[in-house]
């Protein structure tokens, strides 16, 4: 096989290559600028804050005036007797919420609602989106009012009416509620992605599998799931990182309690330290150290996910032929 050189020789070729590069970079530029402005620059600032002792009592926005303390905040963090507990709380929270709700339940809802009447499927999906579009404060207030202890909680009012014992549900099972409350919100994201992926599979392929004698379950296993690997990777990766940094619902529901950091997660600690404190004097520098480690964990996980899911292959030319 011979390679034909374009007319104009080497210089023409270089100009074309340069032009094509510029075109590619030009198209990537808007996204690149967003990443730089809203990720890289904030990370650099937080990284810098984490090596200062910035607090309310010496607060300044002038980076040059901040007192450099080296790795002292990281040393304090690593010596914190509860850092390990908060770290494993975070792993526990992300792992269970992600696996049970954000991926599995989202996939099940997508598969079920794409295998029933189209309008009914749309209705069920719309219901699952409600937790996502409800304001977090209102959403948590609903949960709190439902689960509050007797005589205030709606569930406990039913228990009393039926002569059953009452419970302080959230205090006795805080993790169950933290995971369920966040999971109900998380389902909708995966559900939308998975549903659109399933709907975009050519009908001929789906019908062909049935003609070939597969059951609906076999069709899901051998046709649909392999064809939505990319959306699966995307949801797993995105939702892992999203859960790692999410804390609002936990803050509103348990604020990390009850007891000693029972449901405290890493991002909530960063928030508590840097931005929210009953007695003021927030520790911006120390809180930033927590945030920096969270960014590191997120970046490492993203790279691991891309390796495990063989990202390069997934973004290769699709093998499904759209007719």
């Amino acid at each position: 096989m011979s390679i034909l050189k374009p007319k104009g020789g080497q210089s023409q070729s270089s100009r074309n290559a340069l032009r094509s590069y510029l075109g590619a970079y030009g198209f990537m530029a808007p996204a690149g600028v967003l990443v730089i402005v809203f990720f890289l620059i904030p990370v650099a600032i937080v990284l810098y804050l984490s090596v200062t002792n910035l607090a309310s009592s010496n607060f300044t926005s002038d980076l040059a005036k901040m007192e450099f303390v080296g790795l002292r905040n990281y040393e304090t963090l690593l010596n914190d007797q509860f850092a390990r507990k908060i770290f494993f709380n975070t792993i526990f929270y992300v792992l269970f919420t992600l696996s049970i709700f954000n991926v599995s339940a989202a996939l099940i809802v997508s598969l079920l609602t794409t295998h029933i009447d189209r309008n009914a499927g749309f209705l069920f999906r719309a219901l699952w989106i409600l937790p996502r579009i409800t304001s977090p404060v209102v959403y948590i207030l609903i949960w709190k009012r439902m689960m509050a202890e007797a005589p205030f909680g709606i569930i406990n009012q039913f228990n009393e009416f039926l002569g059953q014992p009452t419970y302080n549900y959230v205090a006795t099972n805080p993790w169950v509620f933290v995971i369920v409350v966040n999971g109900f919100i998380g389902i909708s994201f995966g559900m939308i992605i998975f549903t659109s992926a399933i709907e975009s599979i050519p009908k001929d392929l789906l019908n062909a599998s049935l003609v070939d004698g597969s059951s609906k379950l076999q069709r899901i296993r051998y046709v649909i799931l392999p064809l939505i690997r990319w959306p699966l990777l995307f949801v797993v990766t995105y939702q892992t990182l999203s859960l790692l940094t999410s804390f609002v619902e936990i803050q509103l529901l348990t604020d990390g309690g009850p007891g000693l950091y029972r449901t405290e997660v890493w991002s909530l600690t960063a928030f508590h330290r840097a931005l929210s404190n009953y007695f003021g004097n927030a520790q911006w520098g120390y809180g930033s150290a927590f945030a920096v480690l969270l960014v590191l964990i997120g970046v490492v996980l993203a790279v691991v996910y891309m390796r495990v899911f063989r990202f390069d292959e997934l973004i290769a030319e699709p093998r499904v032929e759209v007719l």
């Binding site: 607090a55 309310s56 009592s57 010496n58 607060f59 300044t60 926005s61 304090t76 010596n79 914190d80 007797q81 509860f82 709190k144 009012r145 509050a148 202890e149 205030f152 302080n168 959230v170 205090a171 006795t172 348990t254 604020d255 309690g257 009850p258 007891g259 000693l260 931005l275 929210s276 404190n277 009953y278 007695f279 003021g280 004097n281 927030a282 520790q283 120390y286």
Partner: protein
Amino acid sequence: MFRRYIFAFVLLLLLSSFAGMAMAQDAVSITIRCIASPPEEDWRCNNFATVEEQVEAELGIEIELNLIQDNASWGDYKNEFVLASEAGEAPDIVLSGHEDIGAWAPAGFIIPLDDMIPMHSEFEDIVPSLWDSHGYAGQIWGIPQDAEARPIFYSKLLLRDLGWSEEEIESLPERVAAGEWTFADMMATAEAAIDEGIVDSGNGWWHRPSNGPDFLYYYYGHGGEVLDMDGNLVVDRDALVATYELLGGAVASGVLRSDVIGLDWNEVWHPTVAQADTVLFAAGGTWNWPNWAINYVADKGGDEFLFENIGLTLIPAMATGNAITLTHPLTYMISSGSEHPDVALELIAAITTPEHNNKHAIDSFHLGILNAQLESEAYANNRLLSSAHYMLDHTTALPNHPGWNAWSGAYFLGIQAVETGDADAAGAADIAIAQMQNELGDGIIVR
């Protein structure tokens, strides 16, 4: 002709603009930021509007007053001032807890008032003990806005069920103040109420469900100190262990719920305590009373219901033998970014009168800050205030220190540990001290 009209119109517009600008330049703009639970605490900012004309007349200037008042969370409220200060947009006057002096004074966000205070005779009448909580580095940084006591509320209803006579119930505050009826007696009474089925286990005594100033009086009540004579942060291990023994013991004996920390203030804590039929003793604050009367028992008669069924007393004596309470005065501080600190202080002085402070004290059940208030008819005739003002004689306060935040966070960790059973009293003290040492380093002295 038409051009002439246009010219005249433009000229008029320019002249009126210049006149407006000139007037705006003459007006002194003062922005005041307050935190208040509506409606009972609204006088914190609204009082300024009532003295605006008076101060304008006294100073011969025009004041453009901007009042910003809401019921934000404390954390957000304090951060807002810090960020606004750094951005050069801080209000002239900010109202916050006196302990913020410990962070905002060294940061340079507020100004010392020592030189200006003597110019205003109104401040001479402030209850002397209140100034103690407004100092930092030998200077005064704020003017008290209100005072309060953090008492034990006791259910008269349940004590009657327990067989207490009216005379015993009504004399309880006196007996507590005299040190005759102690914290141990309170625990024993609560246990008896549980044993006799008058209250459920865990409802003998409730303290607040989240971190806050109240918890410090248990430590003070066991002889603990937070600041030494030189102003260094200290922690007394024996007092700490004794405090945790008291709290852990209350849970172990069934007097206190192990999950009281975490109860929702508005969904559970207030509505339960205000009914007076579920919890025998509750540690709260005087300002809870009007909140309960307005929001939780209004249908039962409000104030009258509360007077009939709830009483308030000092925190009974613990190891020190003295009944105690804690006052957490809110404080008007003047921002270092204020262009008119003299006008700001003049406004504060104008509302530091019995007439103005009584409005806030009576509506919100905060104690008065002026000696003259005690003698004023409105204050003296108020049944609630006149029955609680003596508590200021037994009061303590939070320290003003940049490290107080870390100290209190670690102390609260120990409370959570001992109440949930994660640690015994000694273990909880170890947790708290280790946390303090890790975060404060050489800034904490363990005794």
